[in-house]
């Protein structure tokens, strides 16, 4: 009988971690996942005792930034996930075997663990030209995707390419780049270009700890990481509320850390954890480094430009607004012919808003918003 692999606790213990530190790191994870104290007990239990589920990870039309982000997770560490928590049986980036032997490893897992393996997809799938724009081992991405999905326990779409098509699906989408959820049902979308490493690890830990998919919003995104607008979790928000803005990059206001709204920041319409978890173990996020958010986790973000043009509609929704309620509201507003900005709740800034709107529409002839039928 093969022995069960080392648990995360055994591993950390063997590296000199105390039980207290272990629980502390579980606590950090729980906080990141938004778990209660009872749930945390289950998380500790699961990390200590679950066996390793097989994972097959595909690369289609992508740039590997998702894999690069995943290996930069700080908690858990990628080595601990890949060697101790899951069995990563197919991965073009990390796997030792190549060619025939790599494909054999994939097929062995799909045959040996039907209904049990987790399928992770990095990249969109080209649907034009019979799919010849992406092949692996002589098969198209579309053929591979459909075959592997038949017996997968769960499908995770890593990053914006797999979740919404990202840059290659931007107008006019020459290869018919298509996100996974348009081909398969029941996909967990983890958007972002890339997603934050700890978010990716958090999704895996959620699956391992609770043995089920995380709760998803209407766009298939885990609520634990995508239910808050960056604008509502931004440490520069008080400057926005006070009407204090950066006017040009590197001006006196930029050095004071004022709000980047006028520089085109997409924080007001982007749902992600950048302002909460931050990047690379909490070091920073684009706004903190003086760069406006480009909304990289939102569908169609490359067609929602130019990036440095301030958002045309002034978002006045409250902190409690989630993507779903905002989506429902926008639909209702559109149906009723109501301009979105008219419902801005912050009456104090009406005049400012009007001025912003006038200037923001100056470059409207620049290419935006054109979408191809294949893209998101």
């Amino acid at each position: 009988m093969p022995k069960q692999s080392m648990t995360l606790w055994e591993l950390m213990e063997s590296r000199g971690t105390t039980r207290r530190d272990f629980l502390k790191s579980c606590g950090y994870l729980s906080a990141a996942l938004g778990l209660s104290a009872t749930q945390m007990t289950r998380l500790v239990w699961a990390l200590e005792s679950k066996p390793r589920p097989p994972v097959v990870w595909f690369h289609f039309q992508e740039c590997t930034c998702c894999s690069e982000s995943f290996i930069k997770s700080s908690h858990p560490l990628v080595a601990d996930i890949v060697l101790d928590r899951i069995s990563l049986d197919y991965s073009l980036t990390l796997q030792a075997a190549a060619g025939k032997q790599a494909e054999e490893a994939l097929h062995q897992t799909m045959t040996k663990y039907p209904g049990q393996y987790i399928m992770a997809v990095e990249g969109s799938v080209p649907t034009k030209g019979d799919g010849v724009y992406c092949t692996v081992a002589g098969q198209t991405a579309l053929e591979i995707l459909r075959e592997a999905a038949k017996n997968a326990a769960a499908v995770i779409a890593w990053g914006s390419c797999a979740s919404n098509g990202c840059v290659q699906a931007a107008a006019p989408n020459p290869t018919g780049a298509t996100p996974i959820h348009k081909i398969l049902k029941k996909v967990v979308n983890v958007p972002g270009c890339p997603p934050i490493g700890e978010v990716m690890a958090g999704v895996v830990v959620h699956l391992l700890a609770f043995g089920r998919l995380p709760q998803l919003d209407s766009q298939g995104r885990p609520k634990a990481f995508y239910s808050t607008r960056i604008h509502d979790s931004c440490y520069r928000r008080p400057y926005y509320d006070a009407g204090l803005f950066v006017e040009t990059f590197d001006d006196a206001n930029a050095r004071k850390g004022y709000c980047l709204y006028k520089m085109g920041c997409r924080g007001p319409e982007t749902y992600n954890s950048c302002g909460i978890i931050r990047w690379n173990n909490g070091v920073s996020y684009p706004i903190e480094s003086g760069a406006p958010c480009i909304g990289c986790s939102e569908a169609g973000y490359f067609d929602n430009g130019p990036f440095y043009r301030r958002l045309p509609s002034f978002p006045g929704f409250g902190v409690e607004t989630t993507a779903d309620t905002l989506g429902a509201y926008l639909a209702a507003a559109a149906a009723g012919g109501i301009a979105v900005h008219a419902v801005a709740t912050n009456l104090r800034k009406r005049r400012l808003i009007k001025k912003e709107l006038e200037t923001s529409l100056k470059d409207k002839d620049l290419k935006t918003g054109k979408k191809d039928e294949g893209g998101a």
């Binding site: 093969p2 022995k3 069960q4 692999s5 080392m6 063997s14 390793r52 097989p54 039309q61 740039c63 930034c65 690069e68 982000s69 290996i71 930069k72 990628v78 890949v82 899951i86 796997q95 030792a96 075997a97 190549a98 060619g99 032997q101 054999e104 490893a105 062995q108 030209g129 019979d130 799919g131 010849v132 724009y133 092949t135 692996v136 198209t140 840059v167 290659q168 020459p174 290869t175 270009c193 890339p194 990059f249 930029a254 050095r255 004071k256 850390g257 990047w279 690379n280 920073s284 996020y285 903190e288 480094s289 003086g290 760069a291 490359f302 130019p306 990036f307 440095y308 470059d363 620049l366």
Partner: protein, 572 residues
């Protein structure tokens, strides 16, 4: 009769690469390199705001993240005549260096090491002997007996679990593995340590660009405002973090990477005469110290070397339409002027025209077209690009610190300069330049601190930010060096929008199919003569191909659906 073997997918790389090779009498007699994925960025970029281009172009590659954004902002700045402040140049250099440190070290341990290190053999090692050996290589404090024992136990647990995961079905026990068990254990231990460390050095990107992968860039400078007296700007705390990350990186490179590289290389000296391939090398150079328009001030100089003649460095100019030209004889494209035409990127056409076999297929028709990569040439010559090309151009240009570093490594291994022209030479060159870069990075950091101390806080030149200040038409070229080699972007701006945008990337140089005259590119040429011990196990092919650090995210050529003006983009 030669046997055709196929390796698809080539793993432990970025992107989709397929190698077909003919093996006869245990030796490769011919080889064919194919990129099998294409996206499409150039047509997508057309009509956009040039100031946004970096964000599109950066998505060309998430492994070479940062360098495409850098080449992109340089291209726009070149077109519009924007000079960035010295601090912004230093910040870009620091981000460049951080990227190289992460990327090269990860390449050696995570992507390349398993070609040389037998993971399963590490189980037979005596941890005491590994610790003794490690003690002779460096004074890195972590190299203790209990540390190696813990790692060994971890590998044992993994093997006994019956689920080998990323190590499953590989080539363990292959006769090509030459390291003693103790060195294998050392390699496995440091593989795990490097995975843990690499997430640290890229925090330099988080500080200056907000995140990694894909940090934010800015045409005209850098987005991060600096002010040592302000809690919301780049201040002493942020800079101290960068300083610490550099010091830690220097320790990892000096105490772990370089000693391991030399130790492993000493067991594989026969690979110093295998995999040489082409005899021509091209480098655009990078790390400016006196502005982008003064290549003489670059830490990595610009130039080309032909026929391994180190006595002469040829001048390279991305704007000279006679120099860089591309052909499509074996690529899935068509040219309006005919199949035999070659075009400079500014005049480029691209019309995707797949003529390969219907999927699923077993073999490509290599007599016809067989790749999504076009074939670039410099003055008609096939060129190798990458760390070896950069070092050779610097060496031949008489750069003293590069010469000393190269000569020192060669002396340590007891091999002549000619040993550089090989699979092992390429891998060693990557290590040597990493060490140089780690120490240069410290110098850039000190200069940035000095500037701030002297009151220079400028990070951005706003003069040409407003499109109303731009000429009606402008064109630019931005040259850079990705970790994998020479990288260039070209732009044409008309009426404040992108009229044309193109990239020619390192893996297009190295991994492209042969040209119309039958000249092979670097991957194909380097495989000729490579011995293959076990025909259905491609270990030797992986060694040489990995020595180039392939990055194929795409040969993202684009086409105009109406077949009119056509252009392209190619991505690492």
């Amino acid at each position: 009769m030669a046997e055709r073997i196929v390796v698809d997918p080539i793993t432990r790389i970025e992107g989709h690469l397929r190698i077909e090779a003919d093996v006869s009498g245990g030796v490769i007699t011919d080889a064919f390199s194919a990129g099998t994925m294409v996206r499409g960025l150039e047509i997508i970029l057309r009509g956009r705001d040039p100031r946004d281009a970096w964000a599109f172009a950066e998505r060309a590659c998430g492994v070479c993240t940062t360098v495409h954004a850098l080449a992109s902002v340089r291209t726009v700045e070149n077109a519009l005549g924007i000079t960035i402040p010295p601090n912004a140049e230093l910040v870009r250099n620091l981000m460049f260096c951080a990227h190289y440190l992460q990327d090269h070290v990860v390449h050696f341990y995570v992507l390349h090491a398993l070609d040389w290190v037998d993971v399963v053999s590490a189980l037979r090692a005596d941890p005491q002997k590994t610790a003794d050996l490690a003690g002779t290589l460096s004074s890195w404090p972590k190299n203790s007996v209990s540390y190696f024992r813990t790692v060994q136990k971890r590998v044992q647990t993994l093997v006994e679990s019956g689920q080998l995961g990323i190590f499953a079905n590989a080539y363990w026990g292959h006769p090509g593995y030459k390291l003693p068990p103790e060195v294998n254990l050392l390699g496995v231990a440091h593989y795990l340590d490097i995975l843990e460390w690499q997430k640290e050095i890229i925090k330099v990107h988080s500080v200056f660009g907000g995140k990694n992968p894909h940090p934010h860039y800015l045409v005209g400078g850098a987005p991060c405002a600096v002010d040592p007296e302000n809690s919301m700007a780049l201040n002493a705390e942020r800079l101290a973090l960068v300083g610490k990350l550099i010091d830690d990186a220097i320790e990892i490179v000096d105490q772990v990477y370089i000693p391991d590289l030399l130790a492993v290389a000493s067991f594989y000296k026969e690979w110093a005469s295998i995999g040489g391939g082409l005899k021509n090398y091209l480098a655009y150079g990078d790390l400016p110290t006196n502005g982008i328009d003064d290549p003489g001030g670059f830490k990595f100089p610009r130039g080309a070397i032909l026929d391994r003649d180190l006595s002469r460095v040829h001048e390279v100019d991305g704007a000279d339409t006679d120099q860089i030209r591309e052909s499509i004889v074996h690529s899935w494209y068509s040219y309006q002027g005919g199949e035999s035409e070659s075009l400079h990127p500014w005049d480029g056409e691209t019309d995707l025209r797949y003529t390969g076999p219907k999927t699923p297929y077993k073999n490509l028709n290599v007599e016809e077209k067989y790749s999504w990569l076009k074939t670039p040439r410099w003055r008609g010559h096939a060129m190798e690009v990458g760390p070896l090309a950069r070092l050779l151009v610097a060496y031949a240009s008489g750069r003293e610190e590069v010469k000393q570093a190269v000569d020192g490594a060669l002396a340590h291994l007891g091999v002549p300069v000619a040993a550089l022209y090989s699979t092992l030479g390429r891998t060693a060159a990557r290590g040597i330049e990493t060490q140089l870069i780690a120490h240069w990075m410290k110098d850039f950091y000190k200069t940035l601190l000095d500037n701030i101390k002297n009151g220079d806080l400028r990070m951005f030149n706003s003069e040409k930010w407003d499109p109303d200040t731009w000429p009606a038409e402008a064109r630019g070229v931005g040259l850079s060096e990705a970790p994998r080699g020479a990288l260039a972007h070209w732009i044409v701006i008309k009426d404040k929008k992108i009229a044309n945008y193109q990239m020619v990337v390192p893996t297009t140089w190295n991994g492209s199919p042969r040209d119309g005259s039958g000249q092979r590119s670097a991957y194909e040429e380097s495989l000729i003569g490579t011995p293959v011990a076990v025909v259905d196990q491609p270990l030797e092919i992986l060694r040489t191909i990995h020595s180039f650090d392939p990055c194929v995210a795409c040969a993202v050529h684009l086409y105009d659906p109406e077949g009119r003006h056509i252009s392209r983009i190619r991505v690492i």
